[in-house]
Amino acid sequence: MVKILQTKYTENDIRTCLKEVKDPEIPPISIVDLGIVTKINVSESNDVHVTLTPTFAGCPALKIMEELVKARLEKEEALGKITVETSFETTWTTDLISEEGREALLKHGLAPPKQNVGYMELDVLSDTPCPFCSSRNTTLKSPFGPTLCRSLHYCNNCLQAFEGFKPV
């Protein structure tokens, strides 16, 4: 049977679809803005292969996100075979979070991670700006928070506890 293509999808079309897939642990941010969609291949016959990279090796949302990607793309009737894989080929860092993503985090009350921190700098957590009053007069309470990607802070200015997205 010859498959008649109504639309030839582009990489960008797929990216637009995936913008609707949200991080299950931080629903305001899409997986595209989170920077974990590292490769999208669309074949001539509209077969799609999406590559994701884990934020944290032990992230329990990883398998769920693979399934969410698949489920979203299956809604596109003109697409052929859909495959999703997770690969460490591209190392995820918080620098891969888009500007839109950083704003979404802030709106969610999560301090966005500082950028270009590399791997070794740790004092980057010490004066994380408060997501509520923007003061930098804040204290790191613990590098471990309610999910692997978050840290706990306290703002000495507005006296609020807050969470930050850890730079990695």
């Binding site: 090796a57 791997y119 070794m120």
Partner: protein, 255 residues
Amino acid sequence: MDFFNDKHVEAAKDLLYKMADDQLIIGHRNSEWTGLGPILEEDIAFSSMAQDKLGQSEHLYNLLHELGEADADTVAFTRNEKQFHCCHLVELPIGEYDFSLIRHFLFDMAEAIRFEMLVDSSYENLARLARKFKGEIKYHTMHANTWVQQLANGNEESKARMQSALNMAWPLALGIFEPGQHESVLAEATIFAGEAALQEKWTAEITALITKAGLTIPNDATPVYGGRTGTHTPHLQPLLDEMTEVYSIDPSADW
């Protein structure tokens, strides 16, 4: 992995097994603090580190699967203690918080350096994992170093507890670096520079931190070896029995 010959595959498997087993077992021990931490933040910290370690061990077992071993769950949940390659340090019960903290301090510094060394490994799939893991583990070493400095400079009791935990854990920590049978193969193939090189770097880093904390490294400690070749303390098998209880009842259980 076509750049590997059989000798390299055997050596890489040996390296992966000990790394993955260390991670799985310390991860399980860390998880035993869930709900019991001395303060809420420590409860969360040990639970988070447990999650990181288990995740990292799974990805290392996946590499073993690529090299022909059984899949991650089978490898993690169906072996007996003699088939485990973890060092004795990670298998001891959590004890009191001072022991768990010092163990975490000594072990995670070694792991952080191991991953740093593996970043340039010729075994590219392992190098990729190392690049990922080292970004995660920096938070583990940061956590350990902060608390060790604070408690060693707290009051008399906290300092004494840190010192006695260090005295107990030190010979066990030296067992992390038990030489394997494939050290020269790993080094020649630039897969991994070896346990001796790792220990040298670790000793320099950890000595500086211990000195800064005002603690003393025990003299003439004899390294506790055996874990890498399947000889374990009486504490490992009960841990495995508990960890694999659900899997033994229903290997297909999912959630």
